[in-house]
């Protein structure tokens, strides 16, 4: 991540007509924005498209960006709302266990990497069974650098309600994941 120029300086550059400054902002936040979109949509193609749209929306709306909140908070909110509305509008084919099994045929020599990929697969399949609001709250929570107040700003939910929502979402994820893992174990026996 580029840490030399801070976000507000880059935004000032873009406002002054130097669009290249926006490329640095995109590079800085693309993984985060893409993660929000992918977790909510459960599909890489749609996630890529919505991530792109979110950045274009942010660029076009930079004139209205007051700078009262952080740029990251603002772009995450745009991404989250775009992804949720995209998922509601369009019936998106989410990746299933079968889709992942196609990739399993390849050989992965690194055991730790294999385990991580396995975790990633089961996690996304479990998330695909959940409501987009719950998924986005969980995703933001695990970004770790966000405080509950920032999460509240992004989601538009007050902190107390957010805590309850987060707790319920984590419970749902645990039970969804538990079911999937048990099913997987049974299929291996």
């Amino acid at each position: 991540m580029d840490t030399k120029i801070d976000d507000s300086q880059l935004i000032a550059q873009v406002r002054a007509g130097r669009a290249a400054g926006f490329r640095i902002l995109v590079a800085r936040y693309q993984d985060y924005v893409y993660t929000i979109c992918y977790r909510v949509l459960g599909n890489r193609e749609d996630a890529e498209e919505v991530t792109q749209d979110a950045f274009v929306k942010a660029f076009n709306g930079l004139g209205n960006f007051q700078g009262q909140s952080k740029f990251s908070t603002w772009i995450y909110r745009i991404a989250m709302n775009s992804a949720i509305s995209h998922r509601r509008k369009k019936k998106i084919p989410v990746e299933t266990l079968e889709d992942y099994k196609q990739f399993d045929k390849g050989e992965i020599s690194d055991m730790a990497e294999y385990q991580r990929l396995e975790q990633k697969k089961f996690l996304q399949i479990a998330l695909n069974t959940m409501l987009p609001d719950d998924v986005s709250v969980l995703t933001l929570f695990y970004f770790e650098e966000l405080s509950l107040e920032e999460m509240s700003e992004i989601t538009g939910i007050n902190v107390t309600t957010l805590k309850v929502k987060l707790f319920r979402a984590r419970k749902r994820l645990s039970s969804a994941l538990d079911k999937i893992l048990k099913k997987e174990v049974n299929s291996l026996i």
Partner: protein
């Protein structure tokens, strides 16, 4: 012994308990199989998410975003002027309509240039003699005006109704 709630399980996993609470929780965890099972279920989800908190965006994403922005900016701010296919037709139609209307008025005798601008036209007879020879049939004027206004009406309809309707429809069907 204290009863622990499900919320306590997540507080324990997030390390947001006080050392004292944490100690008590662990003590209970070792003796309560039900709590142990609940913690291990929650821990799996917690660990899976923690280990995979960030996805890697495709490498070409930044380029794609900048290309879209550059295209969108051109569309937004670039307005062709002069006789381009999109604006030129309207311009030519407008000028032609105004000319035909003006000629019709002169031809019908509504415009007396000598009275309106005496300094501009010294000799009314010269003007009269010119218009005595110049004649446009009424049917040609009417037909021209009908065609021009018809085309203009179509352009307005297209801008106001057809274009927004088909754009909306294409978006709804998933075309871009």
């Amino acid at each position: 012994m204290n009863r622990f709630t499900e919320e306590d399980i997540f507080n324990y996993l997030d390390r947001s308990m006080t050392p004292e609470q944490s100690k008590q929780f662990e003590k209970r965890l070792n003796s309560d199989p039900e709590l142990k099972s609940a913690v291990s279920e929650a821990r799996i989800a917690h660990q899976y998410f923690k280990n995979n908190s960030l996805e890697k965006a495709p490498v070409h994403l930044a380029n794609q975003v900048m290309t879209s922005i550059s295209k969108a900016t051109k569309t937004k701010y670039y307005r062709p002027s002069g006789l381009f296919s999109s604006t030129g037709f309207l311009l030519v139609s407008g000028v032609f309509t105004a000319l035909v209307a003006f000629m019709s008025l002169i031809n019908a005798g509504y415009v007396d240039l000598q009275r309106m601008a005496p300094g501009l036209v010294e000799n009314q007879t010269l003007l009269d003699s010119f218009f005595d020879d110049f004649f446009i049939s009424e049917s040609i004027i009417t037909n021209s005006l009908v065609v021009i206004y018809g085309v203009l009406a179509l352009v307005v309809l297209d801008k106001l109704l057809f274009n927004p309707f088909f754009k909306k429809r294409a978006k709804r069907l998933g075309y871009h």
